[in-house]
């Protein structure tokens, strides 16, 4: 018998601290496998966010740094300009990227920084206890919208992939999901394309991955995958938004 699936050496032995069934873990694995398969694992530089993935630096077997909340694209810009030969990526949640870090991601993308952003959109602030995020859905119940997000008062969800794809700097932007095996496989292909665009020197690349937060959504891991599929995908359609 031959091994058809095993843990990649681009992940350390540290156990993930994520809640049971949280898809942050699946996304970590996909990024690590892609870095390995592209042969850039040894030299890659990752930037961890503030949010549940704050400890991502313990899990990826490459150089990692920790940025202040939302500032990962700025740190990655510095790392890439000093080390233009290295693959540099950020891993950010939707609170981190679309709220406090909205300016940084927009301008990194507009400048066409040759970095790759893995944007984990779980429609909520996970780490801090489930507050409403810019990406929370209309009507979504969170700790700061206990009667559901009221768009009269709180406005509408921000579709980052669509927004950033209007700029000239990005070379590759795709939105994927990890709610079943087929989509997990597709998500990995998208992440690979995004890193390849960086390696080819084409410009900024981002993959938005729709992800679950069973704990703060108040659901089982299985219910959360179903909720993602039925509620998040209509608001955040999957697909390639930019490819040059």
């Amino acid at each position: 018998m031959a091994v058809v699936f095993q843990k990649t050496s681009m992940l350390t032995d540290a156990p993930f601290h994520y809640c049971p069934g949280c898809t942050h873990g699946i996304i970590h694995r996909l990024v690590a496998e892609v870095l390995d398969e592209l042969g850039v694992g040894e030299t890659a530089i990752g930037v961890a966010p503030v949010g549940c993935a704050v400890f991502a630096y313990n899990y990826f077997n490459c150089d990692m740094m920790e940025a202040a909340h939302g500032r990962a694209p700025a740190c990655a810009t510095g790392a890439k300009r000093v080390h233009p030969d290295k693959v540099v990526f950020t891993y950010q949640g939707d609170g981190d990227l679309a709220s406090i870090g909205a300016a940084e991601i927009v301008h990194a993308a507009a400048r066409g920084e040759k970095i790759t952003t893995i944007f984990v959109n779980n429609a909520i602030y996970g780490m801090t206890g489930g507050q409403m995020a810019p990406t929370s859905l209309p009507g979504q119940i969170t700790t700061t919208s206990p009667y559901g997000r009221n768009t009269e008062v709180c406005g509408f969800p921000v579709n980052m992939s669509e927004m950033l794809s209007q700029l000239n700097g990005p070379a590759y932007i795709e939105r994927v999901s990890v709610h079943d095996v087929k989509n997990v496989v597709r998500a990995k292909q998208a992440i690979k394309k995004a890193f390849q665009a960086q390696i080819d020197g084409k410009g900024f690349s981002m993959v938005e991955v729709l992800s679950t937060c069973p704990t703060n959504w108040g659901m089982t891991p299985q219910e959360a995958l179903k909720w993602l599929e039925e509620n998040m995908i209509p608001q955040f359609p999957l697909g390639v938004y930019k490819e040059v």
């Binding site: 091994v3 058809v4 049971p20 898809t23 699946i26 095996v181 997990v184």
Partner: protein
């Protein structure tokens, strides 16, 4: 012939592998618990395993190794 192995101490008992196994041969161990306090996933009929790795691809904690 195929086989699945669980790095049991890393399992958080989320059950996603159980849900996504097309052969429905996985379950949460009914009595045993690991050091984290979770009932870990286990295979109850390895003969039926087709080595598709659906379980491993959906496992958020990269617990599973698959051979075929």
């Amino acid at each position: 012939m195929a086989s699945v192995k669980f790095n049991e101490e890393m399992c958080k008992g989320c059950g996603l592998c159980v849900t996504f196994c097309p052969k429905q041969i996985l379950r949460m161990a009914p009595v045993r618990i690991n050091a984290k306090g979770y009932h870990p996933a286990e295979c109850i009929d390895l003969e039926k395993c087709i080595g598709c790795a659906s379980c491993a691809r959906m496992c958020p904690d990269v617990v599973i190794t698959v051979e075929r």
